[in-house]
Amino acid sequence: MSSTEIPSREVARRVFATEFNDATFTFKESDDERAPVYQLLPTGEKANRVFFSGTLTEKEDVGEDNEYWRGRIVDPTGTFFVYAGQYQPEAARMLRELEPPAYVSVAGKPRTFETDDGSKTASVRPESIAVVDDSTRNRWVVETAERTLDRIERFGEESNEYARTAEENYEIEPRKYTEAVVSAIESLEETTDTTGSDAIGTT
């Protein structure tokens, strides 16, 4: 590696909504002010970017002076909340124009917020939102199942530093997500067994 190398792009992790929403612990790996902030996944991985496909079920402009769009995007395990305002013009435009329900793919950055009651929630600041077909959404479900299982299988390895950090910061058994994976894949088999397009998820 030469020192002139440009910083590498962060990979987009695959994580189901149920795990994503549990992942409210964030950290940095350097003291540099501009160092990337990582979300810690309870299955033991760091995430600075995520990619997911699901069904946009609702959208609402929750901004006061400026447009600020909130979208609910549903996968077989739960709901991702995405927020896009003036600094995400492309994503905001998509949310303004899209008519739910619609299958969409989102690439974006995890963000955590503290709510009024002191609890933390995770949401996504989208870099891009694109309309996709159901085969893309199904492919994402299977891919995310595989990646999640990989993380769960590696969780017990002693050298897995993010798993150890997860144990310290969450009181969640990774096993919980194995069940989510099973039900996600089973839901897929049901949709492909039946008529498919009727089976769009609901909140």
């Binding site: 990619f51 694109a130 492919r139």
Partner: protein
Amino acid sequence: MSDLQTHAAAITAQFSEHLEIDEQDVKERLETVVDEYRIPPEEARRTVRNQYLEEADLDDDAVTTSGNEMVGVGTIETDESWIDVTAKVVELWEPQSEAIAQVGLLGDESGRTKFVSFETSDLPAIDEGEVYRFENVVTDEYQGNYSVKLNRTTDIERLDESIEVGDDTTTVQGALVDIQSGSGLIKRCPEDDCTRVLQNGRCSEHGSVDGEFDLRIKAVLDNGETITEVICNRERTEELTGITLKKAKQMAKDALDTTVVAEEMSEELLGSYYAVSGPELGRYVLADSIEPLGEPTETESVLIEARSI
């Protein structure tokens, strides 16, 4: 690099494993021999090398003529390393500058890499299709792409053998998560053999020129573990998006803006899965083919795996 500096670097590389050796000291010794004893640089190199052999208490064969590692050209991934390669001259290109004697592609089983030799190095010319052993070439990196530079100390020996050149074609799959700037309808420099993409109507080599329109997509594929940057040329871009160069020009004309083309392409391609195959060039895969992926195929096996945990 001056002549003596090159020799000094080569000697330093040869002895770095055997001695505490400093390139500047080597150069000074070479200069002494050349200046005071008026002997040619080649001979000076022998003399100084022998001095170091003695200091290291080594036999001549312990440090091979070059002392370098023999490296597959497709595996080069360090800058400024002194190496030896045995490779076939896959292609020779027309040099773009008077300083360059020869430029082209070398290939062996591991892949291909660009090479350059300079007029000042005064090396014998090499022929396309022939296999050579090159001792003492130095690697170079530019924007993540590696090449080798021949130099005055390079030993070139023609070999009577054939090499099957690997095509280092790779296949990657993933979600298309980003379309990078420089995609869509672009302009290239029209100068002979210059295909640089213009920035605000300017070529970095030829200045302000009347560019020629072309189509290109630079995309990022992400599979959740690694990312791959992919370049689609005009043909692949037209096949993939259905937007021909002619149509793209019309779109830009109607909108009085070339960026509409990349925007429309992004809207169509982002967020879906593709399989791309083609040769790797530095950090890019040049798409020979790019296919959208449909329904998942691993569903059953993933379910079995999940239930077994």
